[in-house]
Symmetry: C2
Subunit: 221 residues, 2 copies
DNA sequence: GTCAATGTTTTTGTATACAAGATAGCAATT
DNA sequence: AATTGCTATCTTGTATACAAAAACATTGAC
């Protein structure tokens, strides 16, 4: 579990939250986690502290930590900001990408094509992450890459839900094609707008999101 | 120092970093901080953990915490992202602002005018923060407000430095006027672009930034 | 039978103790 | 005189202990 216990705990718990193993609203008991991972409360507390700083859990004074359960409109807002940041990354990528970036982007895009054709949503989910990271990397802005990566992580659970919607994979892939085209042909504003559209949860996609959230809530009961 | 010790320590230390009391690169000794604030190492460690998650300090395994010393180009990247987020806030504000938002914005703008005319850079620094927060608030996107506020905080030390540059206050204020105009007359794209320009560290302003950073470095010696 | 009050238990918050790794200083050898 | 290796000390990382607050249950009264 990594050389650093706290780091490892943080990742482990974060993963548990992202994979819905710890559900939104669930209380995270320090002692329980400590016993489960075979450590004392101290590193557990420090890991929770970090998750709280990231915004994944909330620590209320003397009442312990609970997994944050954001309202649908808040998730919408998060996607809205993500859309803007990815648009920015795409715009910079169109201007700054190197040959190596080009290869990375095309490779990720090819992987997405395979998994989309195979209708394999788990693999597509993973390949899609590769694709987006390739765009971030091509922006060559270290800080932007960090911000995008962090927000992308935080939105993981919902992104996964969205893939359940019918045909979303195919649509997503064809949007990717246009994005690749815009970036590689060096059109910053086109790339920005396409990425914005690609990420934003607009129109029907918002009701889809709310519906899948409700479904997940029901599955938990 | 707040009801929550850890929270208080975090703010206190963060403030120390922002005001350059703890200089970039400086080692933060847990025992020293504990003695200074009259608490044990435990809450100090937890506060440092949080600062590390925010990105203000770096904790290297078994080597303690040091204040992060970002390279100029990284600060530039941070302003670049800030420009984009503020642009987004301005765009949303132009579409969504209420009468109350309008009052807030105009009030903050008037305060800026007074402090700019008085050539009082300390007051202007503060009123300028009010103004930008008024823009964030008018966006009515809770998540965006949080992100903007967090990044704004992190950029505080450099923002302060920039006001030292000759005439920056007057220029800043006249840019504010155009921004207010665009937001209140409901022109999202104009507001976005004006805010982007207002924040971005472009052209001469980048060399000004590097110069003032160097100056501050010299003052520390 | 229900509500309230009090006592118990559980859990968080902080302090301290202990272990292990890193740094620095000193000595010895080349 | 410089470099390397060893030892001592200092600092971090983790565990445990103790205090205080909140949740919970039990008992008694209406």
């Amino acid at each position: 579990m990594a050389e650093n216990i706290v780091q490892g705990l943080r990742d482990e718990i974060e993963n548990g939250i992202v994979t819905n193993q710890y559900s939104p609203g669930e209380r995270l008991d320090e002692m329980q986690l400590a016993k489960r991972f075979g450590v004392s409360r101290t590193p557990v507390r420090e890991a929770l502290m970090q998750l709280s700083a990231i915004g994944l859990i909330e620590i209320r004074a003397r009442r312990g930590a609970v997994v944050i359960d954001p309202a649908p409109h808040r998730i919408y807002e998060m996607f809205e900001v993500m859309a803007e940041l990815e648009g920015m990354a795409g715009s910079l990528a169109a201007r700054r990408h190197t040959d190596a970036d080009r290869e990375e982007l095309l490779a990720a895009h090819a992987k997405c094509e395979r998994s989309a054709n195979a209708e394999d949503s788990d693999t597509y989910y993973y390949d899609n992450e590769l694709f987006h990271h390739a765009v971030y990397a091509a922006s060559h802005s270290g800080f932007l890459i960090e911000q995008c990566t962090a927000l992308h992580r935080r939105l993981r659970p919902y992104r996964r839900l969205q893939l359940r919607v019918r045909n979303r994979m195919k649509t997503s892939f064809s949007e990717h094609s246009a994005i690749v085209e815009a970036i590689l042909s060096g059109e910053p504003e086109v790339a920005r707008n396409l990425l914005r559209q690609h990420i934003a949860v607009q129109g029907d996609r918002f009701s889809d999101l709310v519906a899948t959230l409700a479904q997940r809530g029901a599955e938990r009961q």
